[in-house]
Every structure is written in C-alpha cells, then in structure tokens.
C-alpha cells in the first residue's frame, strides 16, 4: 500500500509520499500556490517535483493506492463564534470552533449590535457558530442573535450549539429567513460543563458539505474517496496520536506543539493541565485535554508588526537595536518573501521575533495561576491549563522549521519569571518536525494509525 497525502495551503501545496510496506516516507515536495490560481495547478506542480526523473529520486515512478487531502486554501475555514458571557459560552464556542480547525476571526458575547452585524458582514465568514445559555438557561440572547444573524446579507451557514430550549424558535427564525442552519448539542449543557464534540463534528461536516466547493477544491476531492478535512484538524489529530499512542505503541504523553506561520500562530496542547502546585483551586471553564488555539495577530510576515508592537519593554533596553528590529519588521511586512541571510544580524532578529511570537501565543494558550492569602493560609487559584511540568514542546512548520536555530525560537514557550502568573512549561525538552509531516500524519492516522505513529515518532527529533 502506498499513500499520497496532500496539504493544500494558502501559500504552498505540500505532498508526502508514504510506503506502508517499507514503513518510510519516500519523499516530500512543495510548490507555490496563490489564492488566485487554481488549486489543481499547485497540486500538479508539486506532483511534478515529487516524481521528477532525477537520479536517486525514490519517488520517480511513484504510484499511490490512496490519496488523503487536507486544506487551508483560500484563507482556511474562516469562522466567527457567538456566545453569551465572555468567559462561559462565548469561550466555549471559540474553543469548539478552534478545535474543529477553524480560524476564529472574532468571538462575540451578549446580544450583538448593529455595528457588530456589519463587522460580521465584512468578515464574511464561511461558517458561524451560535451558542449561548445552558440548557434551560438564558434564551433571550441566543434568539436575539439568531434574528440578527439572519439579517446579515451573506451566504454563511450557521451552526447552533446553545440552549436546547431555544432551538425550536431558532430553527423557525432561520426557516422563515430562508437561511441555512444546522442545530446540534449545546457546547455548555450545564454550567461549566464543556461539550464541544458535537459542535466540532457539525463544523467538520459543514466543511465537507459546503466549503469544499466554495474554495475550489471539488476537482481535487473528485480524485479521492476520502473526505477533505481542514489542515489544522489534521495537525490536531497528529498531536493526539503522538501523545496517546496506539493500542500497540506507547505515546509520548503530555505535549505542546507550536506552529508559527506567516499570518498566524497555532498552539496545540495535549495535557489535562491539572495543577502542579499544592492547595490550588480550579477556576473558570474546564478545558479539553486536546486544545488548539490560533492567534490571528501573531505571524512572521503578514502580522509581524503586531508581534513587534506587543514586545514587552523588558525584553530589550537597547534602543538602537530595537530600531534595527523595527526596520526589519517594516521590510518583511512590505515584502513577505524577504529571507534573512545565514549568520547575519537579520537572522538573529528573525529568531528574536519568532521567539516573541511563540512566547505570546503560548502565554495566551496556557493558564493563569494566582496566589491568594486566606485565613487558612496561602492558597492558589488556577484558570486554564497548568503546563509547568509539561515534558515536551514540539516545533512544527513555518519559521521554526526553516530556522537554523529552532530551539532559540522554541525557548519562547518557556516559563518567564517576569510573567510568573502564566503557567508555561518550566523545563521541557524541545523537538522538531523536520520534514513538516504533522498534517500528513494526521491524515494518515485516519486509515493507518500504527504507521502514522511510527513515522511521527521517528521524524519528530530531539533538539540540542
């Protein structure tokens, strides 16, 4: 059995050829794709590179038995999420959409305003996730938001995962307006009980049903019997597999994976995040063991200015150096294809900015611990995941893989005494996904988990 995995990206289409008998990755190839050009063109170029007739190319006469495809083409799966209270159902909605592989452009709480309706019109999302209220809880806000959503003149489908007592009315609102709606289980059926899988499945179903055609992926879909899934979902599946292992192979346990791209930074954690400090009370919404967050304002090219603007003052007191950093940021923002020369100051600036993006993204992903002095002595409260004892941090994709010093960038994930409330890993080992195979292995895991795990385990190498 030979597999070909295809990752149709916004900038690159990446192919991976896998031989299941020899249990190896035969080769990988990538080619430039632009949003304007046809997806097929990117695929055909990459295929030509993969099977090029050059000496020592093991893929020169490669033929595959099965093809598996994931996509983040045309901006990926763009969503907005709506909930009621920011820290409760709005956060649950965001978590569900992120875990389904969507890029959540914005999350709204309470009844949205006319201005926010206009904002959603401008964002023009592929899908909208509408939540709010526990089952039997508040109905008014989710119903009001349903009415506001149908009034937005865009073709998105709405997935409703809120108070079940409001669903009949909501279905009626969408039916009358002639708008598409899918109703599934509440993301928070009881107070502080998270139930994101049904919403996550509904989003994946809608991605297959509606988005593939809209994003020009139908020709590539016609080449395979397997359904195309969003790329971040494939990466999430690979992280889950590597952490958990299979029935025959032992997984690597708790881990964190970071992918710094040109426009966004993705963070995946596979960990319960239970408190590592004694006398700690858990606060806020419980988090899923497998969690993805995506930071739309942190990237190494299209959003580099935001990374620069958010640098904390204490990272560098040398004003001249900061000016040189700023010049580099401006250059990269204006010309996203700029690359730093090896062993130049620019290369070190690039690593510094990469480390800062990782630092901010992991900070937002992990939990917050606070000391509280009570008559019973010192106690702690923890909101989110405590990752301080996490043993493994993996760099995947983008800048980390292209850098000559990936561990310098991954150091951004470390616990920082200046931000001691953030429960980032204190002493992890760093690993690197050298061949960029996480998305590919996430796809492969759906048909051959043992092989996918074996290859991931082999290719995910320790640094330093």
């Amino acid at each position: 059995m030979k597999f070909l995995t295809v990752d149709v990206g916004s900038t690159y289409t990446k192919l991976t050829a896998i031989d299941a008998e020899q249990r190896v990755i035969l080769g990988t190839a990538q080619s430039f794709t632009t949003i304007e050009s046809d997806v097929m063109q990117g695929f055909e170029n990459a295929w030509r590179l993969l099977t090029e007739n050059r000496p020592d190319n093991p893929c020169a006469d490669f033929k595959y038995d099965q093809m598996l495809v994931c996509s983040s083409a045309a901006g990926g799966l763009k969503m907005v999420a709506l909930g009621l209270v920011p820290d409760l159902t709005a956060k649950a909605a965001r978590t569900a959409a992120s875990n389904a592989g969507a890029k959540v452009v914005k999350t709204y709480a309470y009844e949205i305003s006319g201005g926010e309706q206009q904002e959603i019109f401008d964002i023009n999302p592929d899908l909208v996730l509408l939540c709010g209220g526990t089952d039997g809880g508040n109905k008014e806000v989710i119903i009001a938001n349903a009415k506001r959503l149908v009034a937005i003149d865009r073709a998105f489908t709405t997935i409703v995962a809120g108070n079940k007592s409001a669903t009949d009315e909501i279905r009626e609102i969408f039916r009358e307006a002639g708008k598409d709606v899918v109703i599934t289980e509440n993301v928070m059926p009881q107070f502080n009980k998270l139930n994101i899988e049904p919403a996550r499945d509904a989003i994946r179903q809608m991605f297959i049903a509606r988005i593939i055609e809209a994003k020009g992926l139908n020709r590539i879909q016609a080449m395979t019997a397997q359904k195309i899934i969003p790329t971040p979902l494939a990466v999430l599946q690979a992280c889950e597999l590597l952490s958990r292992g299979t029935s025959k192979q032992k997984g690597r346990g708790d881990l964190l994976a970071v992918d710094v791209g040109g426009a966004t930074t993705d963070v995946y954690s596979m960990a319960s995040g239970a408190p590592t400090v004694d006398n700690t009370m858990m606060k806020g919404l419980p988090e899923p063991w497998s969690k993805r967050t995506v930071e739309g304002d942190l990237g190494m090219r299209y959003s580099l200015t935001h990374v620069f603007e958010q640098l904390p003052e204490y990272v560098c007191s040398d004003k001249e150096y900061i000016q040189r950093v700023q010049a580099w940021v401006e250059l990269c923002s204006a010309h996203p294809d700029t690359l730093a020369a090896p062993d130049s100051e620019e290369e070190r600036i690039e690593e510094f900015l990469g480390r800062s993006a990782v630092s901010l993204a992991v900070e937002r992903h992990c939990g917050r611990i606070a000391e509280v002095y009570t008559p019973l002595g010192e106690m702690h409260t923890l909101e989110g995941k405590d990752l301080m004892n996490l043993p493994t941090v993996i760099g995947i994709g983008g800048v980390i893989r292209n850098s000559r010093h990936p561990e310098e960038i991954l150091k951004g994930s470390l616990y920082d005494i200046m931000r001691s409330e953030c429960t980032k890993p204190r002493n992890p080992k760093f690993y690197l996904d050298k061949k960029y195979i996480f998305a590919s292995m996430g796809l492969l895991s759906m048909v051959d988990a043992e092989l996918a795990f074996e290859l991931l385990d082999k290719e995910c190498v320790a640094l330093g």
């Binding site: 209270v85 409760l88 109905k139 009370m281």
Partner: protein, 137 residues
C-alpha cells in the same frame, strides 16, 4: 425543566467547603436546579453564572468574617449586568467580633440583600424563604 435554578457559592478568599456541599445537597433534594460555584467565588462569577443559566436567585455564603467587604457592590453589579431585582440571599459568619445581628442584618439589607441569616441558621429556614420569594408554595 420547570425546576428553578439557584446559584450558590462561598464568596471572596474563603475556602470553607463543607457547608457549601450541605447547602448544595439540601437544595437539590428540595427540587432546585443548583449551580454550585464552590469556594473562593468572586462577585463576577456569581453574576456570570446567573446570566448564563437564567437563575432565579443567588445564595451567597461567607464563613471567614470578611463578608461585609466581599459582598459590598454585588447588588449594583447585578443591576449593571441586567439582573435587576435578582433575589440575593446571604448567610454564614458574616462579620467578626461580637456584633448585634440586627445591626449586621441592617447593613447587609442596605447593601441590597433581600435575606440575611444569622450564624447557625439551618438551610431549611432559607429554603422556606426561597420558596416564598419565588412563589413556589
């Protein structure tokens, strides 16, 4: 589905967990849908939980003597969050020292609480008031 929802919790930096469990159990057995926020609960958490679950009342416990500081402003925040007229109950060891309970009660009523209970009041007393207030009996 017709069960009334009540939000309970121990306010402030107070970690007394035992009474909270007893209140949870007794209210549940009396037919309420209980949203128990546990111990060390902030005013904001009470309000957010009440908004999301469409609660009919908030029951605040305070055992460690700082209740007056912790509870002040809860009514105003409720008003701000759209929970105007939300029935507020408070009980426990609300203040330190030997103070006349009637005076303590008057101060908590002035803060906007509807029912204020002296130390060692059984939860059954509160349940009678709660049912009256919500028109359940």
């Amino acid at each position: 589905m017709d069960k009334k929802t009540v939000v309970i919790g121990v306010i402030g930096a107070d970690a007394h967990a035992v009474g909270n469990k007893i209140i949870d159990l007794t209210l549940t057995n009396s037919g309420f849908n209980v949203v128990n926020l546990g111990v060390m609960v902030s005013q904001e958490e009470f309000i957010e939980a009440a908004v999301e679950t469409n609660a009919s009342a908030i029951l605040v416990s305070s055992l460690y003597g700082h209740g007056e500081i912790d509870c002040n402003g809860l009514r105003e925040k409720c008003d701000e969050a759209g929970l105007k007229g939300m029935p507020l109950f408070v009980g426990g060891n609300l203040v330190v020292g030997k103070q006349e309970f009637e005076e303590v009660k008057a101060r908590f009523m002035a803060m906007g609480f509807d029912y204020v209970y002296a130390p060692s009041t059984p939860i059954e007393t509160t349940i009678v008031d709660l049912k009256n207030k919500l028109g359940l009996e």
